[in-house]
């Protein structure tokens, strides 16, 4: 018993020794900026002749948010974008995972196809799609016209509704592979003995899917939903390159709004307030993620 205690003690002090450097570095990089950004959100920050003037205004910035038409618009855009993206990505990702889990989908070639969109930089992806969607020479227009589906070349990014949905399409294209990988890993963890039992009991394939696959995948799907929601709130590069928020602010998402308010309008305190709203939203989602992961871990054992 005594030797057991020293064994644990030694492991504990070694543990602190191993974990400390990483935590110290993270704190050194992030500690001050996090506190400072919360302070900024409570201040009015003005730039006068290159001098930064700061005055404490309490929750003034947050009160401004409530009355701000542009913020409300961006929040609605973000809500639509995130909900639609999560639904599309998880449904398509699940479909792809099922395909790749089938014996016909096993060849490595399919996995190669899966990692390519994931690895492409969001900026390069945006540049590529800007060219595909080009109003005068874009290949999408070319294909649709050749097929007789459209009469004239369309300005896909020209009207608010269409621009937001194409932004969505491009991000879905890039996001599906990763969620598919996540769900594929989930599918491969479903114990095969369950399928064997379903077979012995004379269950049809469809019944096995409904009563074995779907319940076993509940945890993995929930994780994918939360992670994808967090990622969809972070979209920035795509908006920056593809639409710059236009037309008529139709593609201004919260993250882009925070950037624009801060760096274009130099309204630093207000920008920090918007950023903190996004932070709190994401943090709540992260807590949800943790709660979902825990039982999934227990079930896997």
């Amino acid at each position: 018993m005594a030797s057991q205690a020293t064994f644990e003690q030694r492991r504990r002090s070694a543990g602190l020794f191993l974990v400390a450097p990483a935590i110290v570095v993270l704190l050194a990089i992030l500690g001050y900026p996090i506190l400072e950004s919360m302070m900024l959100a409570l201040q009015r920050v003005q730039l006068n002749a290159g001098e930064i003037q700061r005055s404490f205004i309490g929750l003034g910035n947050f009160q401004r948010l409530l009355a701000d038409e542009t913020f409300r618009h961006a929040a609605l855009n973000t809500l639509y974008f995130s909900v639609a993206e999560v639904v599309l990505v998880v449904v398509l990702g699940f479909g792809v995972a099922l395909l790749l889990n089938h014996p016909l989908g096993r060849p490595g070639f399919f996995r190669i196809l899966l990692v390519v969109p994931w690895a492409i930089a969001p900026v390069a992806n945006a540049v590529l799609w800007k060219w595909i969607l080009n109003a005068n020479y874009g290949v999408l227009n070319g294909i649709l016209q050749s097929l007789g589906l459209i009469d004239y070349y369309q300005v896909w990014l020209g009207s608010p509704f269409s621009a937001l949905n194409f932004l969505l399409l491009v991000d879905v294209w890039k996001s599906v592979p990763f969620v598919a990988l996540l769900l594929l890993a989930g599918l491969q963890r479903v114990p095969s003995i369950l399928y064997r039992a379903a077979y012995m009991d004379g269950a049809s394939r469809l019944q096995a899917f409904r009563h074995v696959t779907l319940p076993s995948m509940r945890g993995a799907v929930a994780i994918a939903v939360v992670l994808q929601t967090i990622w969809s709130l972070r979209v920035f590069d795509l908006v920056f390159v593809l639409t710059r928020g236009g037309p008529a602010d139709a593609t201004v998402l919260l993250n882009f709004l925070a950037y624009r308010v801060t760096f274009n309008f130099l309204d630093i305190g207000y920008g920090a307030a918007i950023a903190n709203v996004i932070f709190v939203l994401t943090l709540l989602l992260a807590i949800l993620y943790i709660r979902l992961v825990r039982p999934a871990e227990g079930a896997a054992r």
Binding site: R12, A121, A124, L182
Partner: protein
């Protein structure tokens, strides 16, 4: 019906699977194929309606022009390489021991620390960008690859810790016990027993961190001016500047994504196993 046949499904399911796989291939590959094709076609072929795909229009001129004229691209690639290698190496060196400690060694409040590490990832980059910018400009390190690399640790360290912790949680406890009985201390066990069996997840974490750093845009946009500009900035600027020279634009974009695509394809099995498993565990 045998069990093997049962698992594979009947002709109906096979047909659905084949159709699904074909759609999946077209959906995933078409944009990439068009990226490659456009980079190899002359301008006159690209601005034909519809694009003229005859082989006579194939050319390497776009690449030649881009490589010869855009010195910024070469410098961007070099900068991205330095930033990505630096932040990946440091993240692994600090993150692997930390992940091991959080997963296996009875560090007080290990789960809370792990959650806080993850929570830093929830921070929108924009929230910390302004204070970071103010600090870094005060010490005169704006437009410097190493200050950018240090900032990248803010996301690469959490990524590495989170991926590896998921793996370390699954190591059988008997392995460490056996090493302890043989007289190995904790550090020796970590170095000689745990790390050698962790090559795939270490590789996954490394590839992941490298790709994230190589592709990062927002911090680079705010913290660099010219000499430290990374590839995504060069590509974004290029696309704004020469937005009518489509072939060259695609050639530049292709050059910028090839290194990470090669990495991702070569190490795909590690990524699939290492990352997906890491993310599924508390």
């Amino acid at each position: 019906m045998s069990y093997a046949l049962y698992r594979r499904g009947g002709p109906g399911l096979r047909l659905v699977t084949i159709v699904g796989l074909v759609l999946f291939v077209v959906w995933s590959a078409a944009p990439v194929v068009w990226l490659i094709l456009s980079s190899l076609l002359q301008q006159k072929a690209l601005i034909a309606r519809p694009p003229d795909l005859s082989p006579a229009n194939l050319t390497l001129d776009n690449f030649v022009t881009v490589v010869a004229s855009a010195a910024a691209l070469g410098r961007g690639i070099l900068n991205s390489l330095i930033v990505a290698l630096f932040s990946t190496a440091v993240a692994l060196a600090l993150g692997a021991p930390a992940a091991y400690a959080l997963a296996r060694l009875s560090v007080p409040r290990a789960n809370a620390i792990a959650f806080l590490v993850l929570a830093t990832q929830m921070l929108p980059s924009i929230a910390i960008a302004i204070p970071l910018f103010l600090v870094i400009s005060r010490i005169g390190l704006i437009d410097n690859v190493f200050s950018l690399g240090v900032v990248y640790l803010s996301f690469n360290l959490p990524i590495v810790i989170w991926i590896l912790r998921g793996f370390f949680l699954g190591i059988p406890a008997g392995l460490e016990k056996a090493a302890a009985i043989d007289g190995a201390g904790v550090l020796r066990t970590f170095w000689h027993i745990v790390l050698p069996i962790s090559i795939p997840p270490l590789g996954a974490a490394a590839v992941f961190a490298f790709v994230e750093a190589w592709n990062e845009f927002f911090f680079a946009l705010i913290l660099t001016r010219q000499s430290a500009q990374t590839v995504p900035l060069v590509i974004a600027a290029f696309a704004g500047q020469y937005q009518t020279v489509f072939g060259q634009m695609m050639a530049a974009a292709l050059i910028s994504v090839v290194p990470v695509i090669v990495l991702a394809v070569v190490f795909r099995d590690w990524i699939v196993r290492g990352f997906a498993d890491g993310m599924m565990k508390g």
